[in-house]
Structures are given as C-alpha cells and as structure tokens.
Symmetry: D2
Subunit: 135 residues, 4 copies
C-alpha cells in the first residue's frame, strides 16, 4: 500500500462517524479519492432506501479527501448535491476528483454510485469547494 | 401533541439512520420544521468536531421535513450547504422553512446551530429543492 | 452620500457589463448591499419574462458587493441560485447580506425581487462564497 | 443543419438578452448543447476580465438547452456554479450535458471554457436542475 493511501486510512480510522457508518477508503492519490460503504438496514430511511444523508455524507467526505490529496489536511467549505435516483443495492461508492486547485482551495466534483447485483448505477452528483485546514 | 408533529415523529421512527444518529423532531407545522440531535463522540471527525456529514444530514432532513409539511410525503431533489464554523457543543439544531411552494415542489432554506453552554452558534446554512414523492 | 456607497458606485461604473444592463447600487454598508435595474425588453427571454441570466447576474453581483463590504475588493468564488417564479414588472432588486465572514472569505445570501405595480415579489434566492481579491 | 439545431437557434433569436450578448448555439443534440459568445469590452468588469455574470448566464443557458434537448421547452429550476479562474481571451464556450432525465426534470452539468490564442481553459463548472415548461 502506498503512503498516501495509508495516511488517508489512518485519518478515516480517527473519524468516529465514518467508523460508525463503516466507510472505507478504496483509493487515494493526487487529485482523486474513492470511498465506499456497505448499504445495511441501519443506514436506511422509511421507504427502505439508503438515507439521503448517507449519500451526501459519502459525497462530502470524498470531496474533502480529493481536495486533501493535493492540499493536505483539509475541510469542506461548501458543496451542492443532486440526487438522481434512490440508492438501492449492496454498496455505495463515491468517486471524487479535483477540477482545479490553488494553494489554499480546490474545486472538486464527485459521482456517487450504488452497486446492485454487480451493476453500478449513478445515484448522485456533487460539486464543492475544499480548503486547506488552518487557512 | 398535534397530529402533524405526531405523524412526523412516526416517520422519523421509521428512518433507521435517523434512529442511529438519535435525531428528534422538535417542531413540525405548515412551512416549518426543527430537527435536533445530541452531539456525541460517535458522530465526530478526526479533530474532535462533529463530522460535517452529520451537519449536512440534519440540514437535508430538515429541508425535506419543511417541504413535506406543505407537500406531503416528499424527498430532497438537491441542496447546497455552506459550513460556517466547526460544530462544537452539546446539541445540533436544524431549523428549516419553506420559501416558495407549488403543487409538486418547494424551495426551502435551513439554518443549523450548535448549542454550547446555553448559547447557539450558527454553523451552516443550506438551500434546496423538495419534491412530493411519486412525482 | 457616504464614502462606501460612493466607492461602490465608482466600481459599478467601471463594470462595462453592469453599465450595459443599467445596474445601480442603491445601498452599500458593512454587511449589506442592494442592487437594482430596470426590466426592459432587451433583457428578456423568448416568453417575455426577464432572462434568468439577468436575475442570476444581479444576485451574483449583490453577493460580491455584500462580501466586499466587509472584505474589500472581492470576487465570487461560487454561488447557487433557486428561481422561484418568472421575473415580471418594472424593476429587479437584489438584496444581499453577509452571514459569516473571516479575514479572507465571507458567506452571503441574497434575495431577488421583481417590483410590479408597486408590489414586490421574491423571484429568486441565492447563497454563495465571496473571497477577498488577490487571496 | 438538423431540425433540432434550427429550432434551438430560432429560440435563441427570440431571447433578446442572448441577442444583446451575442450568444450563438453551436451544437444542439439529444443530451447536449454548446453555446458560445465573443468576449468583448462591453461584457467585462472593473479588472478587465469577462464579468462573472456573463459566465453564469452562459452556463445557465447551456444547462437549460441541454435539459430542453430531452424535455422540450424548459426552464432552469436551480443551479450552482464554481468559478475556477478569470475568463480572458476571445471567446467563451459553455458545454452542457444531461446526467439524468425523467419525464419532467433533468439534472445537467456544464463546463465553461475561455478560448485564448487557440487554447481553451476551463473557467467555471456548473450543475443544475432543468424542468419542462408548464409543469
């Protein structure tokens, strides 16, 4: 495992909320990050779909990781998400990438997919601004 | 307790994810909704603040409830959130209201506050579109 | 006229695009800005309403002015707008205010109104991030 | 020229504001639209760059066209834009595409580029919701 991925996973281990949700960091390299989690009953809403709050959490966290991959320790300043369809299946996967980065801030986009029966469907898209911590 | 608030709380009881986070519906009337939760260690990130994903979950859910108060069973189409400061304290409170509503959709805004030592500080603002379910 | 309003109007005079659209700065004080323009045929779309691009231009510019009122020379980093109804009438008015400001950035909100027959109707709401220029 | 492109150009001819800005529709096919305009002094701000309002107008209009390519006569419900760098050069180009579409609404993304000395630079990215008119 490369050092950046190891560092990213260590940070994730220290996010209690990410541990509660069962999030894992699948990929972490300059300009890109992939996070995923298992869709389990505890994370659902009243219609049996994954709760939107889980989808936006994973998008938000993936945006922060993507920005952090080029800025270092970072936080999300703001983001916007469009839900495209209900998230159904076994696994939720968020893939984020950096569109543009300066010294202090980066603009990132993220696509979120639900994996069901081996097929991925895009369930949400997000776009946001990430800032280097302490700035 | 009025019937609308009771209905809203029943729905929240059926959101497993909201139960996992300990969310409660404090107010629910036509055009407005207030949700809150206790800030506990399990919901934090690596710097000891409440995880941003919890803040956006509560904002998202409050937006949906506000829209649902005038549209009936509803879902969030999209929203945008700006984080203003770290959420520190005992309780997180999201207050959402309807700005404009048609038959199928409503535009809502939400302010999120952290309550610490009896004082509320605004930690995030959100704006989004809510759609009647099945439309 | 106070010095801040005079400064703001001088800047507006140097925005060729704002001159083309006929924008005026009605109010400019720490934390707040109001911009307006006359709704004329040249600014409309194919259904006879004011073009959405004019509404978002005025919202964007009002957000920048509001942020600039506390940060100095500034630019819009990002914003989001929800259109609420068609803009019809004689005048378009954008009122923006600062929700939160640090040294380099501010989060601002804006409401846009159309004035028709002496009555104002809210036609759009926007929320965005403003950054001090050169940062 | 195909019929869809001709229809799109006729609509653009009827948008007085688009005529004022000199916008042209370069491409219009199911799921995609490209709009562009010449960067001229009249469209600039006080630092000599293209005014952000022109960038967001073109993004907004391209999003509406993309959505309209699958929905028919449409309007923008909401959108969000991140500015990436100042728009400098001879021409501004907005390329939008549909990410997801139902009967009444579509979610679209748009990238805006400035063409300078034969080279395109991405100056903004936008994401929004388009709705069929009359719905």
């Amino acid at each position: 495992m490369n050092a950046l991925l190891q560092l990213g996973q260590d940070i994730l281990q220290n996010q209690s909320f990410s541990q509660l949700l069962g999030t894992q960091l699948d990929r972490f390299e300059p300009g890109q990050a992939v996070l995923s989690l298992v869709i389990r009953d505890e994370l659902k809403q009243q219609h049996g779909f994954l709760h939107g709050g889980v989808v936006s959490y994973l998008a938000d966290n993936a945006l922060t990781y993507a920005g952090g991959s080029v800025l270092g320790d970072s936080l999300t300043v703001e983001y916007k998400i469009n839900y495209l369809r209900p998230a159904i299946g076994e696994r939720l996967i968020a893939r984020a990438s950096v569109l543009s980065a300066g010294k202090r801030q980066a603009v990132c986009q993220c696509e979120v997919f639900a994996l069901a029966n081996g097929e991925e469907k895009r369930v949400a898209v997000a776009q946001g601004t990430i800032r280097k911590a302490g700035q």
